[in-house]
Amino acid sequence: MAHGPAKGLTRWLYTTNHKDIGSMYLWFSFAMFLLGGVFALVIRAELFEPGLQIVEPEFFNQMTTMHGLVMVFGAVMPAFVGLANWMIPMMVGAPDMALPRMNNWSFWILPFAFSMLASTLFMEGGAPNFGWTFYAPLSTTYAPPSVTFFIFAVHIMGASSIMGSINIIATILNMRAPGMTLMKMPLFVWTWLITAYLLIAVMPVLAGVVTMMLMDIHFGTSFFDAAGGGDPVLFQHVFWFFGHPEVYIMILPAFGVVSQIIPTFARKPLFGYASMVYATSSIAFLSFIVWAHHMFTVGIPVAGELFFMYATMLIAVPTGVKVFNWVTTMFKGSMTFETPMLFSIAFVILFSIGGFSGLMLAIAPADFQYHDTYFVVAHFHYVLVPGAIFSIIAATYYWLPKWCGRMYNETMGKVHFWLAFIGLNITFFPMHFVGLAGMPRRIPDYNIQFADFNMIASVGAFLFGAAQILFLWNVIATIRSGKPATAEVWENPEGLEWTVDSPAPYHTFSVPPEVK
């Protein structure tokens, strides 16, 4: 029996439909992307020139902290969960997610978490100001009172992520259409399966570390307080045991997205499917044994330092395999360059640049010079912005016609791409230079020797920000009045999602498809 969505607000409140929930995740993450972007622009405006002009150091630290937290937990992660919600059931030929009610709950607790986090900006003492890595004891003994709200917000986000992951794993393992063996699954599904396991493994660790903070702050324990016999370095070990897999949580689904898009526009099957699966698994495994490369300067014994250096360098191998596979997929294809393809190609190039700087950072002695400078800021923005965020944008352009049954405006999409591409490079490339020249990160003011590049970076940031307005406009215009799209949308794309109508009916695959 086919029936459509309920009417009005309750449709969204009570929905258990994977497509509705996917859309809500995506809109939510876009809102957070804009909010986090505004924080970033405050930072870049203050850094436009040396001296203190716009904000005081205290508030500047709140901005860097909130920017990081909102982008990581509010923009990137929910966006991928939104894509998973929309696409995984359709890609494996399932009628919905395995646990639809839990799905509703994992989305709806997020707005509460982020309202709580954002409300700290208006509290006495201000928002969290200790960096998104919240190192103790700056985040415990020396934190503003709002830290308690931050801790609860993190707990809620963690619960949401864990529920989302359980759902994704259950869907992928139990609800595949007959004939859809594991090694036939689209790569996006594979990368998400692995990501979901990573999430289940490390989100409890994050919950643990913030709970220890809570105990230190309110219940007289001294986990991280040296004066009480505790250990501030313990905090960093626990945090990065979560934090390093976390960065792969933000990039593995991106690998999946790009592995869907490049074959479509190269008109050639993905090169080395099996090796892609193995490479993703190796990256996931390695991500658990490299955490201390974020801590090369804390004074770990030399043997530990060497172990983490070697393990980190090893990650370059499976990551390289992926890049080589993408390039070989393009090789001798018949390529066209629609917007999703442009974003994906930029992904491959710029993510590789981020990978190169990552390899440099892995060299422990050299890291003594790079650590906590703008070189690191450049590195992780190169893997996260043209990495995670470009892949999310590429995915949106790629599947939007499937979602809403209408085609986006290609010219506007391309303009968006070029503005974003240029803006991003103007913003982040000079950060390599100032970092190498000695500018520490997280400072509101700097010596005049860094002035030129900071000014350039700030200009780029505003350009990049403005480009996203175009994106929003394009998406809204498409939904309202884009040209109707065909079921296939692109030329002979692979995958079950292209076998259903555009827009995808409210319920797809109520009868499982046959996979050959």
Binding site: P57, L138, M313, V327
Partner: protein, 381 residues
């Protein structure tokens, strides 16, 4: 199509070629400050070498990979009538591009390991200096010589708030630099009093976290006399960007002279504890001490930062019993950002700053403290 690519190239290369015709590229790099410093120690130069080495490997790999990519994007496009092949597997290729990077990594790991082991060898130092990070200054303790002092930012607020032109060492200058002898192995013992800081001097390639409850070790051996500047590299709160490091390396004779002068100063300062000061002397001195040590948190106008650092203007302590006030300043408030200043300031300075706080910003208590009172408090009398 090719024409378009050519135009793009001209666009990219044009400025670079123009630049080079005026000046050598190296000068340009120097002028813009785009690369890591080579520094002034053997270790910093080795690290620079490792950095350039891995950088060129990355460039090489990038040129190959991106080269193939751009070639295929230009040649294998549908618009040029390219027909898609269907190959999608090759175990041979996969093995090649797994093994080749692995070999490159081994080539890189060997020298990196050697350098790392040298950096970790802190044995047989000629001189030990204990460095302690405080919210937002550094303390340098010459353990064997019994000399200790604080070093904090000396850039005036007027420059920071754009009311005066900024000097060349803007934010990289301190009231009292760390002084070390050249041609000696100096060992740094690094710790912190409150939150985590990191002591970083790029020219020495020394960056080590200063962690409360831990003592980290690092070392340097400087050949040439000079002034070397660095900054705190770990977020440590509000003024993290304002706690620079300045190291002055001098020949040994000059260093010894400086140490004896410091020791003599300390003796003279001790003697002042016995002296009785007038209110005005204390108040004037107190204003200086306050600006240097307290204003970062309690603010120059005494109003603090609401919710984070309490104001002292009209505060219960500043208007309460004088002994409590002394006690807060000397012993701090454990578990908060209020440090114990008893070990940081001389008795004279404590007496002066308390006197100042009790009488500034309309706190007209009219009373004052003598250094000898502070000494008694410290000795528990």
């Amino acid at each position: 199509m090719l024409k378009r690519a050519q135009r793009l190239f001209a666009w990219l290369l044009g400025p670079a070629v123009l630049m080079m015709s005026h000046q050598s590229l190296a000068d340009e790099v120097e002028h813009w400050g785009v690369n890591m410093t080579q520094g002034v120690t053997q270790m910093s130069q080795e690290i620079y070498g490792l950095h350039m080495n891995i950088f060129w490997w990355c460039v090489g790999i990038g040129v190959v990979v991106f080269g193939i990519m751009f070639y295929t994007m230009i040649v294998h496009r549908k618009a040029n009538g390219a027909k898609a092949s269907n190959f999608h597997e090759s175990t041979k290729l996969e093995i090649i591009w797994t093994v080749a990077p692995f070999l490159i990594l081994i080539i890189m790991a060997v020298p990196a390991t050697k350098t790392l082991v040298k950096i970790y060898d802190t044995s047989e130092a000629d001189l030990d200096i204990l460095i302690t990070g405080y919210q937002w200054k550094w303390k340098y303790d010459y353990i064997a010589e019994d000399v200790a002092f604080f070093s904090s930012l000396s850039t005036p607020a007027d420059q920071i708030y754009n009311r005066a032109p900024k000097g060349p060492n803007y934010l990289l200058e301190v009231d009292e630099p760390l002084v070390i002898p050249t041609k000696k192995k100096v060992r740094f013992l690094i710790t912190a009093n409150d939150v985590i800081h990191a002591w970083w001097v790029p020219d020495f390639a020394v960056k080590k976290d200063a962690i409360p409850g831990f003592v980290n070790e690092s070392w340097t051996y400087v050949e040439e006399p000079g002034i070397y500047r660095g900054q705190c590299a770990e977020l440590c709160g509000k003024d993290h960007g304002f706690m620079p490091i300045v190291v002055k390396a001098v020949p040994e004779a000059e260093y010894l002279e400086w140490i004896s002068a410091k020791q003599a100063d300390a003796v003279a300062l001790k003697a002042l504890t016995e002296k009785t000061f007038t209110f005005d002397e204390l108040y004037t001195k107190g204003e200086e001490v306050y600006a240097k040590n307290c204003a970062a948190c309690h603010m120059a106008n005494g109003e603090g930062v609401p919710g984070v650092f309490p104001g002292l203007k009209g505060s219960a302590v500043a208007l309460g019993p004088i002994n409590t006030h002394n006690d807060v300043v000397v012993n701090g408030v454990p578990g908060t950002a209020m440090q114990a200043f008893g070990g940081q300031l001389s008795e004279v300075d404590v007496a002066a700053v308390v006197t100042y706080e009790r009488n500034a910003w309309g706190n007209n208590m009219g009373d004052h403290v003598q250094p000898i009172d502070v000494l008694k408090l410290k000795q528990g009398k």
